[in-house]
């Protein structure tokens, strides 16, 4: 599809930025309304739905028995993948996974994996022979901007509700997967020359580079990614890092509240 150069949109966004305004009236660091639902998909061992403005994302967790990697005989495995299917936006075309969806899946994967919230050894059943493979599949149904944060949140929320289907695989009783920690992603896009949190679809279209920050429970960094064309200064990073920290604490509380229900 021909993408029209959104020159007018860029001009409008720059004009708004001068007065510290955004297209939808939000403040620079203000997120859109967000809802999180868990345990919403039959057949998935853990699931979550995230709605953020016009963005809708589902994540589902499945388990399979597999033989461990030869160099890690007592560890299970974790895999997180995202699909940007044509259902999500007219700009997505059918075909093999695009570089975009691979980047998305891998950034979410790193945030969860590197936070250490899953103890890989706890996924071992018989060392060298049989371990659990945990697979998180993220399905974007509607791309209304900032799918990275929506995917990250859906993935960890789904994982935290997952029940290991041991009975179905004849290896003991079902049990809740042990997940210590809730890594949360916060994303920023440069719009009209300055960064904003939680960009909308239009802000992404008329914006520049983006930065994704995933923080663990202790506020430590677990995944960073800069995407698209553009550069930033250390001072700019310091500012958004502070915002990310506050936002991650809020979202972590939201996940905890959802689990309490």
């Amino acid at each position: 599809m021909v993408e029209l150069v959104p020159t007018l949109l860029r001009q409008e966004l720059s004009r708004l930025a001068e007065d510290d305004l955004r297209l939808d009236g939000r403040g620079q660091w203000e997120g859109r309304e967000l809802t999180l639902e868990t345990d919403c998909l039959y057949n998935a061992e853990g699931s979550a739905k995230v709605v953020m403005g016009d963005t809708i994302v589902y994540a589902g967790v499945k388990f399979e028995l597999r033989t461990p990697w030869p160099d890690r005989p007592a560890q299970g495995s974790l895999m997180c993948g995202a699909e940007l299917r044509p259902v999500a936006h007219r700009k997505y075309e059918p075909g093999p996974p695009s570089p975009q969806s691979i980047e998305l899946g891998r950034v979410v994967d790193r945030g969860i994996r590197e936070s250490g919230c899953i103890d890989m050894e706890s996924l071992c059943i018989v060392p060298g022979e049989k371990v659990w493979g945990v697979m998180i599949d993220i399905h974007v149904l509607s791309d209304g901007g900032n799918i990275f944060d929506a995917c990250g949140l859906a993935a960890i929320a789904a994982l935290r509700t997952a029940v290991v289907p041991a009975e179905r695989f004849d290896v003991g009783e079902d049990y809740t997967l042990k997940v210590k920690g809730t890594p949360i992603m916060a994303s920023f896009t440069r719009v009209g020359g300055r960064y904003v949190y939680d960009p909308s679809e239009e802000e992404e279209l008329g914006g520049d580079e983006r930065i994704h920050i995933t923080l663990g429970d202790e506020g430590h960094l677990h995944s960073l990614q800069k995407g698209l064309r553009g550069v930033f200064t250390p001072a700019e990073f310091a500012e958004i890092f502070g915002v990310a920290h506050l936002r991650c604490v809020e979202l972590r509380k939201l996940v905890a509240i959802q689990e309490g229900n």
């Binding site: 589902y58 499945k62 936006h89």
Partner: protein, 242 residues
Amino acid sequence: MGGYGDVRLLREDGLRLDGRKLDEMRPMTIEAGVLPAADGSAMVTHGLNVAVAAVYGPMEAHPRKIQRQDRAVIDVRYNMAPFSTSDRIRPGFNRRSREISKVTAEALESVVLCERYPRSKIRVEIEILAAEAGTRCAGLTAAAVALADAGIPMRDLIVGVASGKVEGIVVLDLDKAEDNYGQADLPVGILPNTGEIAFLQMDGDLSPDEYNLAMEYNFKAAAEIHEIMVDALKRRYEGGEN
């Protein structure tokens, strides 16, 4: 179909394992306009099935070779999410989803006034989020509501509905166990206003009489489902939204 004669699917009292009567369908809900990014969309829950359809277009048809000079083509993709079934499905198309996509597209082309949009394409994306037998019908129903939600002119809606046979008895709307261990499945797409059929598949073993009864059940259920579809579209547009 079949092959497991020792699995009981009907109870002593003649009801089915989940307590339904022979001609009773699983509960269904439909919501139109669920996906903000799409031009039209719908979500159908039917029993434990969850199907979502998005419509994009009419838009330029490409590659050029798919263009028709006199009408629009409908490009359907039926896809099961990796987590939609008991065992994870590897992402990507397989023979089953390609076939379902093809016959669903042809059914929808039978009701959409394609000649209004020469050389264009209407994309219909069907995503199955949870599967418990009957996903192609739920997907077809969702697609029809999504097309209407997108404001695309159609002769009629299409209702996806199926009947089948378990333990030699014709029943409406097979669930997972009945689908796995039953003897026949007859999914159809019915035009509720004209009574015509735009989608037809079947596998298993049905006598002519059983076929007629299964179709009778299908038509009766189609009228019920049609009401739910119309209601979903009314709710979407009566509230003053859009």
